[in-house]
């Protein structure tokens, strides 16, 4: 593989190194530390368990000495009655234990009870909240629709008048037509004078910049996410010179549907002289999605019904902190603040430019002032996720309207106040106690508005919808059962699907869209288009598992033996499909496939250009799937080049390189997991032998895994490995924990030490149903942690801080 680009070590956080298991990784691991026995024998008599102190020595054993300093100190002075009892290595071991267990600042911080920390909206939450805030003043778009494609109207005229020109209409799966010189139908259309309009919605698979491309020799306009009266995204009404390709970029959020309209006209435009010549005609609608290649916009992303336009905030934000495995907003930075401020102006401008429509008023109508003020109040209420107290309303609405020079300025001030307020930017509901004076505060029960917000941010990364709001207003989000009912309703929403999809891709460590490079000689069929199709195939598969008819069974992610293939992928994997066939499920290799484990995309991503990488595959399995903590090795190691060991199989080469004792602490776990997938080559084709140059060796896919509890499991090949994972408690635990953190963005331990095991047991008892797990997690996490939060400092007594809960919420 030398001389060829090495893919994606960074994906696994290992930055070009081989991975290594870390010791110890948590206070629990300290239980295995050899220093513990020494501590118990010689130290705990005075210092107590975990250095908590005793009546004799009440001070807790904490400080800022380093391990070396502590060891020297113990060697010289401890135990006080006979310092000779703990010296040298023993002193060092006990120092290590004390330091890592409870003595050092780091250890103390780690041992602090986990709590729900005040955090700001993540970028994704900001974008979704902005979109839904605006959308809440518009008619709701349609729900989830299983139909695909676009509505197509065919006209025998050059314009789009249904009365005078419509010939027929139908659903077209995608827009990719070559009409040649004849046109759509010689019987019903003149060859050089016809027009087609495609309308419907587009559902982008993920958030990002989409490049749209139209290819045509004639007149065309494409509108995406705009009202009919606004300028289109692409205006190619004028055909000029040799231009036949038109491009434009647009930012779209995943998990939403956007209105789309494409108009195509083959005829001269302008003055109507009916003097067209015979010419070729074609029209193609393509896009380049984030992480994708230029392709015809696929049928699966098109819906033949309309949607309301979506407000997408364009201000770029710096990425969120993802250092502990999930995006969270527990820090602020000048860059984030600048972005949030610019975004507040962007949102305010959008509102003002669309206020007639959003507030149902006209510029010169007499009740405009009332309507705008009402709008501002409702906007603030929804943005703050709770009814406004008189104090807050005065602050963010009344004063803005009282002082401003004109109504537009008043509205803008109010918007900027609302969008700049910590009540909007921060999850204050998660941290603050119920507002003083509310029923919730008086009853000591959970605050329903806070619960509503936690539910909606958990499942949608956005604000509550009307039913959720109504339930909160009636204080009907108090019991676990009430919360569960809402969560069950809310799971069936495109935003939940989007959030789960993004989580699953993060869980599979492919959320960043890794670039795949393959050896051109060995894998001449491989191309960027193939790579994009592989990713689409994985998307379809995980969506099918999560939301398809199969019961949302987590285990199917490993055990399913079918693969989504289209006409382009099929020949690579020995399937027979028409070259233009859309994606469909195909059973491959006589049932030897094992879900994501052998999926072509995963197998390719977790390989080098010309060889598999059992280490990448093993790290992925050990860390992501089984939930073990691995640290990068302390020294960078360059993988052995296959050419230097021409007689070794990949397995043998990896075993050779990782044979040292230092490596083995981690690679005893990594390698036997990765070896089990050796049946799948660097682009995920099944193989029984590895052939390279003169070397030909049968595949040895035997492997093993030692779980955190229980006996070692052994297996041969992906199918047996998948059976192990499907029943693995480690895998369930890892999945539950990672999903919890992705949804809630707070440490799970804050809800109590048993939360993980309780949820895991429920998950196992429910046939590993992912959708039910979403509900179970949110039923726990939407309610405040059972342990009493630290008492807040009493708020200044502000008589205005009396909540006025309206009967009917806006």
């Amino acid at each position: 593989m030398l001389g060829i680009r090495m893919p994606l070590w960074t994906a696994l956080g290992c930055a070009g190194w081989l991975a290594c298991l870390s010791l110890p990784t948590s206070p629990l691991a300290a239980a295995d530390h050899p220093g513990l026995a020494i501590y118990r024998e010689h130290c705990s008599r005075c210092h107590g368990d975990a250095g908590a102190g005793t009546p004799d020595v009440p001070e807790p054993l904490v400080g800022d000495r380093s391990v070396n300093q502590l060891a020297a100190y113990i060697h010289e002075t401890m135990p006080e009655d006979d310092p000779s009892k703990v010296t040298g290595d023993a002193a060092r071991q006990v120092a290590e234990y004390i330091h890592g267990g409870f003595y050092s600042a780091v250890a103390r911080d780690r041992n602090r009870p986990a709590r729900v920390e005040l955090s700001r909206l993540t970028v994704r939450q900001y974008q979704n909240t902005a979109a839904d805030l605006i959308a809440s003043f518009r008619n709701r778009g349609p729900g989830i629709d299983d139909r695909r494609g676009l509505r197509a109207e065919y006209f025998h005229t050059r314009d789009f008048n249904r009365q005078t020109g419509l010939v027929f209409e139908q659903i077209d799966p995608q827009v990719d037509f070559s009409f040649g010189l004849e046109g759509p139908d010689p019987e019903r259309f003149q060859p050089n004078r016809f027009a087609i309009r495609w309308t419907g919605s587009i559902v982008p698979p993920e958030t990002g910049i989409y490049e749209f491309v139209i290819r045509t020799e004639h007149s065309a306009k494409l509108a995406v996410n705009t009202a009919w009266y606004e300028p289109p995204l692409i205006d190619a009404y004028v055909k000029s010179g040799n231009d036949t390709e038109y491009k434009a970029n647009i930012l779209l959020l995943g998990g939403r549907s956007y209105p789309l309209r494409l108009e195509f006209s083959k005829a001269n435009q302008g003055v109507d002289k009916k003097n067209e010549h015979s010419t070729q005609a074609s029209i193609q609608l393509l896009w380049r999605p984030p992480h994708g290649v230029l392709e015809t916009v696929p049928e699966r992303c098109l819906i033949p019904h309309d949607s309301a336009e979506v407000f997408v905030v364009k201000t770029p934000f710096p990425p969120d902190d993802k250092s502990i495995g999930y995006e969270r907003g527990t820090s602020v930075s000048p860059e984030w603040f600048a972005a949030a401020t610019a975004a507040s102006v962007e949102i305010a401008d959008y509102v003002i430019n669309h206020i007639e429509h959003l507030a149902h008023t006209k510029r010169d109508s007499p009740d405009r002032a009332d309507k705008l003020k009402q709008f501002a109040t409702t906007f603030a209420t929804r943005a703050f996720r709770r009814p406004l107290t008189d104090h807050v309303r005065t602050l963010v609405v009344d004063r803005a309207f009282a002082d401003a020079p004109d109504l537009d300025a008043a509205l803008k001030r109010s918007m900027l106040l609302v969008l700049g307020s910590p009540r909007f930017l921060f999850h204050t509901e998660a941290a603050a106690p119920p507002t003083t004076g509310t029923e919730a505060a008086a009853s000591g029960k959970p605050d329903s508005f806070a619960t509503a917000a936690r539910l909606s941010f958990g499942l949608w990364d956005s604000i509550p919808d009307q039913p959720l709001w109504d339930a909160a207003a009636k204080n009907q989000l108090v019991t676990a059962e009430q919360v569960r009912r809402q969560a069950e309703r809310m799971v069936n929403d495109r935003r939940t699907r989007s959030k789960l999809r993004d989580f699953l891709f993060a869980w599979l460590r492919v959320d960043h869209g890794p670039e795949i490079v393959k050896d051109k000689t060995r894998y001449s069929e491989f191309s960027p288009e193939i790579a994009a199709d592989m990713r689409a195939s994985l998307e379809l598969f995980v969506d099918d598992v999560a939301w398809g008819a199969g019961g949302s069974d987590f285990r199917r992610l490993f055990t399913d033996d079918e693969v989504y293939l289209n006409g382009r992928l099929a020949p690579l994997y020995g399937a027979k499909l028409r070259p233009d066939a859309a994606f469909r499920r195909v059973r491959l290799d006589d049932g030897r496939r094992a879900g994501v484990l052998s999926h072509p995309y995963m197998a390719s991503v977790l390989s080098y250009a010309a060889a598999t990488s059992p280490i990448h595959r093993g790290v992925f399995l050990a860390r992501s799937v089984m939930g073990n903590v691995l640290k990068p090795p302390q020294e960078a190691v360059t993988p052995l080049a296959p050419d230097l060991h021409p007689d070794l199989s990949t397995r043998e080469r990896v075993a050779l390189q990782t044979s040292s004792v230092a490596c083995q602490t981690c690679h005893t776990m990594i390698n036997p997991l990765g070896f089990a997938l050796e049946e799948f080559d660097p682009i995920g084709r099944y193989r029984t032998a590895e052939i390279r140059g003169d070397m030909q060796k049968p595949i040895d896919a035997s492997g093993s895994y030692l779980p955190r509890e229980g006996p070692q499991a052994t297996f041969r090949g992906a199918r047996e490995l998948s059976a192990t994972i499907a029943t693995s408690r480690d895998a369930q635990e890892a999945f539950v924990q990672q999903l919890f953190h992705a949804l809630v963005k707070q440490p799970m331990r804050a809800w109590g030490p048993d939360t993980l095991e309780t949820l895991r047991k429920q998950f196992a008892a429910n046939n590993c149903d992912i959708r039910r797990l979403l509900v179970d997690i949110m039923t726990v996490a939407a309610l405040p942690p059972p342990t009493a939060p630290p008492q807040p400092v009493p708020a200044p007594q502000n008589p205005a801080e009396q909540a006025s809960v309206p009967e009917k919420t806006p």
């Binding site: 302008g270 102006v345 602050l395 004109d406 106040l417 307020s421 204050t428 603050a432």
Partner: protein, 447 residues
């Protein structure tokens, strides 16, 4: 072309990241200490040709009373509103749009007027001739803009500004005269409020943000006081960012040295509001030049084949319909004369506003450093002639000798474009548009 990137701009001004989204309305980027007088060009377009007998003087000659030996020629009827600027007028007859190729004459008149090069073949069918697409080259104002922006001493925040008055909401060969390159038409901004936002929006945003800072601080304090102590840390950091933002904005307070124009609110884009919209746009043109946001601007009234109904001067019919009437239709000629006199009045108003505005940091008025170039896509409406394209200049920005009418008797207009470019300092430009029409180089005899 060399442009100054936004990043570079920020570096030059040493601005921190928190105000980044609010930075705008910078004064001229021109290096301080540069003493060369500024030169500015404003192109004004009105459509459908002129009434030749009422537009052109009967013969070329001086408009000016100096020197007194020669009798000054009388200003033609259409130009009467420009009487106060008689000594600052320069009129060019006999400068033809000779570009051939696809497209009818309205289309070529519009698309080749400032580009001097053919339209691409395309799908837009005119009233005659073959269908065509966009122009195959950039327009002279953009050529000059690119030149000015490439030099630190003449670079401005906007480079160029494209104003419009009632330009129809459709992009085709008849509605676009400015091009940044082949097939790259520029949409003029015909909504004064939109232009105002482009010019002053960020400044207004800063004002808005400043106006809410007290409430933001109060809100932060209230929320913070109700939180557990552990959670106050992040809000305190947030509050510190708000305070830092406040300081940074205060230090950039006095950026706009001139008075920001105040626009009448609630004017909608419709035919009858044309006079008001015109005056609003003129105010914004003058303000942009005074602030040195740009040194190149254009102001496009309607479009080629434009059809305003100038009821406010007693003309009910559409201009384009009238322009097709034969010269023998005296009533139509009279109305077209009134229409063109109205346009001349707007040009005169622009000149007046420039003359009233002192040149910032220099001598005289803005008009002494600006040339207005009023033109049209046709020489005459009913004949659709591209000969004798109206070219009327007002103001001394280009350094030409003013106060006269000249007749070049049929030179291609490309040569005039070259002369403008040279007068603006872009002396390295040897060809513009179709080189076949640049034969003898820049038009001479103007200085």
């Amino acid at each position: 072309m060399i442009t100054v990137s936004r990043r570079e701009l920020l570096r030059r001004f040493g601005v921190g990241s928190a105000v980044l989204p609010f930075l705008g309305n910078l004064p001229s980027l021109a290096a301080t200490g540069s003493t060369a007088p500024k030169k500015r060009l404003v192109i004004v377009f009105s459509p459908d040709g002129v009434v030749k007998k009422n537009f052109w003087p009967t013969e070329p000659g001086p408009f000016t009373t100096l020197p007194q030996i020669v009798q000054p020629i009388e200003l033609p009827p259409i130009l009467r509103p420009l009487e106060p600027f008689r000594e600052q007028l320069l009129m060019l007859k006999g400068v033809h749009d000779k570009v051939q190729g696809d497209g009818d004459r309205h289309m070529r008149g519009m698309g080749c007027l400032l580009t001097g090069i053919e339209l691409f073949p395309g799908n837009i069918q005119g009233g005659g001739e073959t269908p065509a697409g966009w122009s195959s080259g950039l327009s002279i104002d953009q050529e000059i803009k690119n030149f000015l922006q490439s030099r630190p001493e003449t670079a401005t925040r906007m480079g160029s500004l494209e104003f419009g008055v009632l330009v129809p909401n459709r992009a085709d060969t008849w509605t676009r005269m400015i091009y940044t390159g082949p097939n790259k038409p520029v949409t003029p901004i015909d909504d004064p409020y939109q232009m105002f936002h482009k010019l002053y929006g960020q400044m207004k945003d800063r004002e808005s943000m400043r106006s809410v800072l007290d409430e933001l601080h109060e809100d932060l304090a209230t929320v913070s006081s109700a939180l557990p102590a552990e959670d106050r840390r992040i809000l305190e950091e947030h509050a510190a960012l708000v305070r830092g933002f406040e300081k940074e904005m205060a230090s950039h307070h006095a950026e706009v040295a001139h008075a920001v124009p105040v626009l009448e609110q609630g004017i909608v884009e419709q035919n009858d509001q044309m006079p008001k919209i015109s005056r609003m746009q003129i105010e914004l043109v003058v303000a942009s030049l005074a602030a040195d946001f740009t040194r190149v601007a254009s102001l496009q009234y309607t479009n080629s084949v434009g059809q305003p109904h100038m009821k406010w001067i007693g003309v009910e019919e559409g201009q384009h319909d009238l322009s097709h009437e034969p010269n023998s239709n005296e009533a139509a000629q009279e109305k077209l004369t009134k229409i063109n006199t109205w346009y001349a009045g707007e040009v005169a108003h622009l000149a007046k506003r420039l003359a009233e505005t002192p040149e910032p940091g220099g001598d005289g008025s803005l008009l002494d450093h600006t040339t207005i170039l009023w033109t049209n896509e046709l020489g005459e409406g009913n004949s659709h002639s591209l000969d004798d394209i109206p070219w009327l200049m007002v103001g001394k920005g280009l350094g030409f000798t003013m106060g006269r009418a000249l007749d070049f008797k049929g030179v291609p207009h490309n040569r005039f474009h070259l002369a403008i470019a040279h007068a603006m300092g872009h002396t390295g430009l040897v060809r513009f548009g179709n080189p076949d029409y640049c034969g003898d180089g820049p038009l001479t005899g103007l200085v």
